[in-house]
């Protein structure tokens, strides 16, 4: 088996507000091999970004807390690392690309300075060399180097995202977390940026966690995929297998709600209902209220992780508690 780069064990992250506790991430397990790529897919509010912030140590200081679990990065538990140790990892060994490129760059610093800054922080280069390297990074993401003295407002959305990618990759990190990197971009630019992330990942031998609500985006880049629902990973496995034969009703629902060119279908079937309120989780299986296969047992008994030939799934159908009727469409069909 490949060497593990990142291993998340039973991670539980909560946001504490005055009125309630938001259960954003509820005991997830994830593994990422060196050089691997993992897609983290789910609806808005499924806990994808919270997972990323937990890894980066960027949870809001007053409200966000990791209450349980470990995040092992090259064997070090990031949840126990003191802040100054964590700072050396952030931007250097683990980098992150954010969702909205329009607001993610400081408007009053030149893009060159903003790229050079990350190199200076991690002592990779002195000021002069850092600026030169910043120029190289810009060229690597396809922006002429003489534009490094320009300010973010002089760039388009797609180019800003390239600058952000350049910042994230400047220190040649071991892990890149891309949080919805293309969501805020035009469709035509999306493909470019995705291709660039994929190519640079291979070129720099970086491991990748790609967060998206869009299965199509993940399909273009990732080897493995984890489907997140209400703070849990309900299904995990190699991308092709998960896409061709989903094990969890939620995955099936997601796949049925995107148009496919090879299947002749008049209507897409969306997943009915809404995700549960993360401050009050339902008993039993969290997906039960929306599940077309739900049986009485699903309301009382929470499913555990079931391993099926290298894949894992959280559903009572695979625990043999209720009959496995996957693929039939269930009783809503």
């Amino acid at each position: 088996m490949d060497e593990q780069l990142l291993s998340i064990q039973n991670l539980t992250t909560q946001y504490l507000t005055d009125e309630s506790v938001i259960h954003a991430v509820n005991g997830i397990n994830l593994h990422l091999a060196k050089g691997g790529s993992l897609g983290l897919v789910g609806e808005s509010g499924a806990g994808k970004t919270t997972t990323a912030y937990s890894i980066m140590g960027l949870l809001p200081k007053l409200t966000g807390k990791i209450t349980q679990g470990k995040i092992l990065f090259e064997g070090k538990d990031l949840t126990r690392l003191p802040e100054d140790e964590m700072r050396k990892i952030r931007g250097n060994e683990i980098s992150m690309i954010f969702q909205d490129p329009m607001t993610s760059l400081n408007p009053i610093l030149t893009v060159g300075d903003q790229i050079a800054e990350v190199l200076e922080i991690h002592g990779t280069a002195d000021t002069h060399a850092a600026l030169a390297k910043a120029g190289d990074m810009l060229e690597m993401v396809g922006i002429p180097r003489d534009r490094m003295h320009e300010y973010p407002h002089q760039f388009s959305g797609g180019m800003k995202q390239r600058v952000i990618i350049a910042i994230a990759l400047a220190c040649n990190p071991k892990l890149l977390i891309a949080d919805e990197p293309t969501t805020a971009l035009d469709v035509t630019i999306q493909a470019q940026v995705l291709r660039m992330i994929r190519d640079l990942k291979v070129k720099l031998d970086t491991s990748l966690i790609l967060i998206s609500h869009n299965l199509g985006v993940v399909a273009q880049v990732c080897e493995n995929v984890a489907i997140m629902y209400a703070g849990r990973i309900v299904e995990y496995g190699p991308l092709r297998e998960v896409f061709s034969r989903p094990l969890h009703p939620y995955t099936e629902g997601l796949l049925n709600s995107i148009p496919r060119i090879e299947v002749d279908k008049d209507r897409l079937s969306p997943i009915r209902g809404m995700m549960p309120d993360p401050s009050t989780m339902p008993h039993g299986c969290i997906f039960k209220p929306r599940c077309p296969y739900a049986a009485a047992a699903c309301g009382t008994r929470a499913p555990h992780i079931t391993e099926i030939s290298g894949r894992s799934v959280m559903c009572l159908m695979h625990e043999g508690v209720i009959p496995n009727t996957m693929g039939t469409g269930g009783h809503h069909a």
Partner: protein, 338 residues
């Protein structure tokens, strides 16, 4: 950029024309006759109307405004009522002191400027760090202290605070004199504190709210994700962005400070622009009133110009805007030329 500054300077002209016209009209329609005030109590009506003639006050309103701008030659052999007009920076002599009005203003302006600069330095030194600490430690004890103090500072009128300070430090403790004058630095302590209090409060609140907004921005998250430590995140990424609106407020305050804090100067009998204005208005000293108000308007316009230029240096987006504006204009002119 130079082109922009030049254009902004030109834009001051219509502002000043408007200001002078309004001020002149207000002085014209306000009650009281300068001629009667100059002459002794027992002057006859004939004396008064002769005096009005010498002073040019019997002319029609618009003609008087033209005189005001371009100068007036008094029919009397004595030159004391003649002046070269606003464009030559000569509005004649004060009816009260018989000194050229602009001379008095220019003599007193450094006093006001000294007080203003000291008050500004004090308020900036106090308010900006206070605002930053308050915002970065939101809901902490220090945030609460800053918020309460700034609310307090905001709600104390200058004349009241000035008198309280005089009562405590001059009357009771006898540490500082109650009359301020620029030659004695110690005597400036109380007026500077009085002037700075309100400004400090306003700036601290502004810095706090602006900072709170900025530290929630995505680019601050980006800076943290780079592995920058929190202090540098604040200093390098948050502060400069947060200061943009604070500069506007400070600019407005500098304008107000430079034109003389009328109340503070009066409370401490400080020889500045503010006291000139109050005296002139009380005595219906028309040339002095006009000269002071016009002077104040010029200072205000210049300070605003400086603030706009400072903006361009803090925020490249604004600079780009200025530059594209002048580029667009010169392009337009070139097209018209062909």
């Amino acid at each position: 950029m130079t082109r922009y500054i030049f254009r902004r300077l030109l834009m001051i002209v219509p502002v000043l024309v408007g200001v002078t016209f309004i001020v002149f009209s207000l002085t014209y329609i306000s009650p009281g006759d300068p001629a009667r005030m100059i002459l002794p109590q027992d002057a006859t009506d004939a004396d008064i109307s002769h005096m009005r003639h010498l002073m040019g006050l019997d002319e029609p309103f618009l003609l008087q405004y033209v005189h005001f701008l371009f100068g007036f030659k008094s029919p009397s052999e004595d030159a004391s009522f003649s002046y070269k007009g606003l464009l030559a920076l000569d509005l004649g002599r004060s009816y009260v002191s018989n000194r050229p009005v602009f001379k008095t203003i220019l003599e007193r302006f450094p006093n006001t400027a000294l007080l203003a600069i000291l008050a500004l330095i004090l308020s900036v030194i106090l308010s900006i760090p206070a605002g930053i600490i308050s915002a970065t430690h939101q809901y902490s004890v220090s945030d609460m202290v800053v918020s309460i103090l700034s609310l307090l500072g905001l709600s104390m009128p200058a004349f009241w605070l000035g008198m309280i300070l005089i009562w405590i430090f001059s009357v009771k403790l006898r540490i500082f004199p109650s009359l301020a004058n620029p030659a004695n630095l110690k005597s400036l302590v109380l007026p500077v504190i009085t002037l700075a209090t309100m400004n400090t409060a306003v700036q601290a609140r502004m810095t706090r709210s602006s900072m709170l907004e900025v530290i929630r921005q995505d680019y601050i998250r980006t800076a943290r994700a780079k592995g920058l430590d929190e202090k540098k995140v604040i200093r390098k990424h948050a502060l400069n962005n947060a200061l943009i609106p604070v500069v506007t407020v400070i600019g407005l305050q500098v304008g107000q400070l430079l034109v003389g804090a009328v109340l503070t100067e009066t409370v401490f009998s400080y020889p500045g622009i503010g006291t000139i204005m109050v005296d002139a208005i009380q005595r219906k000293d028309t040339p002095q009133i006009l000269a002071s108000v016009v002077f104040v308007a010029i200072i205000f316009a210049l300070v605003n110009l400086i603030v706009d230029i400072v903006y361009a240096f803090i925020d490249p987006r604004i600079k780009a805007q200025y530059e594209s504006m002048s580029k667009a204009r010169s392009n337009g002119a070139a097209r018209k030329g062909t």
